[in-house]
Symmetry: C2
């Protein structure tokens, strides 16, 4: 039986514009690493958090605590868990920071408990971390963080995660301006009701995006990357959003938008070279703005959460 395990969970770009709350994609960088050791004292302990000083070690305020409590509650195990989290993904970045820690925690605990759960069940446990972090147990980041690739949350009741085809040349670029936007705040500015005509346009694009993924039709993917719901409200929260989009277009991106609830901005590209060019163009915008940022270029991450020891 494993007594200690170290796992790695990737950052994720959720929504992909039209797929608000349902579509997400894993990327290779950045990522979180979680070490968990089984203990005999029956306690959950967050023994250390590296790479971020703002995250609480209180198990009632840390997503790993929420996930482990859910797992203990579901299994009735009497063991304890000692957790060390290495944050590669900054909280509030909009690229699934809480999701990665939640996914890694669920995945690691499952190994320590002899792999009794399916990946779908691990998604459900990881969602408890999301509930703590954002107030709603969404799965559009934890699903791709765990499965890898591109996922669709078709339904929450019952939870039904669909793995979408990954076009072979699909790359992403992510720019993370160092301005924190709380998911809970970004949700509040959305309208609770939307015109039916707007909803129809949005789900036309959801259908187009999914069709584009399955047929590896990069132009169709690009045409479908439209968001009539969140972006019109949220883009104003993101400094330089219009210029970042313009830069992504100039670099040859298929499309671009807000990653999750922001402030990160993503672009999808066909091929590594284009992604490199788009990263350069978008980085120039950020450099001119004087706002600190991180930039990443990555193919779609296929592996999801993996053990690394």
């Amino acid at each position: 039986m494993n007594r200690r395990v170290r796992v790695k969970a990737p950052a994720t770009v959720s929504n992909l514009n039209c797929g608000f709350d349902v579509i997400g994609m894993a990327i290779n960088e950045p990522y979180d690493i979680v070490d968990i050791e089984l203990t005999d004292n029956g306690l959950i302990e967050i023994a250390g958090i590296r790479g971020c000083q703002s995250i609480s070690r209180d198990i009632d305020k840390n997503v790993a605590g929420a996930v482990l409590k859910a797992i203990i509650s579901a299994t009735g195990v009497k063991c304890g868990f000692r957790v060390i989290i290495e944050k590669g993904i900054l909280p509030g970045s909009g690229i699934g920071s809480s999701a990665a820690s939640s996914a890694a925690t669920a995945f690691a605990a499952n190994i320590l408990l002899d792999n009794r759960f399916t990946l779908a069940e691990l998604v459900a446990f990881a969602m408890e971390g999301e509930r703590l972090a954002s107030g709603s147990a969404h799965a559009d980041n934890v699903a791709p963080a765990i499965y890898g690739g591109i996922t669709l949350v078709r339904s929450y009741e019952p939870l039904d995660i669909i793995r979408l085809n990954i076009p072979p040349d699909l790359w992403s670029v992510v720019i993370h301006p160092r301005a924190e936007i709380k998911t809970s705040e970004a949700r509040k500015i959305l309208d609770k009701e939307i015109p039916l005509s707007t909803a129809v346009r949005q789900w036309g694009n959801v259908g187009g995006l999914v069709a584009g993924f399955f047929s590896s039709d990069y132009d169709l993917i690009g045409r479908s990357l439209v968001d009539y719901v969140a972006e019109p409200k949220r883009s104003a929260l993101i400094p330089g959003f219009d210029m970042l989009r313009k830069a992504a277009n100039e670099g040859g991106a298929l499309g671009s938008g807000i990653s999750g609830s922001g402030p990160s901005v993503f672009a999808l590209c066909r091929g590594e070279d284009t992604a490199g060019e788009v990263l350069v163009k978008m980085s120039e915008v950020m450099n001119s703005s004087g706002i600190r940022f991180s930039g990443y270029s990555s193919p779609v991450n296929h592996e999801g959460t993996v053990r690394c020891n």
Copy 2:
């Protein structure tokens, strides 16, 4: 140059529950046949309508007139068109009656005008028939009627029709109770605004349905056949809807719902045998009700509108 042409356009099941206003599927039966003869008098003439007495021959009230006027306006041709329509699809049935006549008219006129238009352009012309018939120029019936198969209207501006993969064993059953529901009336009872949470559930299913078509995942197709928007409002207009659904389930259908704006009810099935069984079960419900009806079982129509002389 052709002076006379006869074409056949299939009935279509639009919406497929979650894909309200964007998804449609062509079926083999019933169908409309349109004969058009080029004339030199510069006039549009609806010379005859067979199989239905309620359709006007006035070119300002007949969808063929609307389509031909649009084509004349776009091309500036000075010729006339003499049209005979053979209605296999009853008006107000909810299986694309006006769409089939519109599609056939556009397709036939294009042959007579030396095939100058693309299929996408023919969809746009046929939409003028829909505008006349229902007050809105929707494409979710005319697109599959022209292209065949299963189509997605990703966008109207610009018009972007996406052909979805057709799972090889996909069959449909359609029951048409002889009660007419006007599309324009069925639209009025829908809410103009819907909760964002409802919209998200709907587009989760749109994504699932499209993914199910591309991966020929019949269970996923069935799970995705859910409509949170139109069915809750419209199903009350359809006599015996709940019993028809129950019968479809008992027969082994993947799912069922309202075809277009009704009153036809459709079911999707895996394989001909199941479709046959579902047709029997649903027909039993109708027979018990005493309401006159027509019933059809058909694989997905692949050909769309075709010439038949």
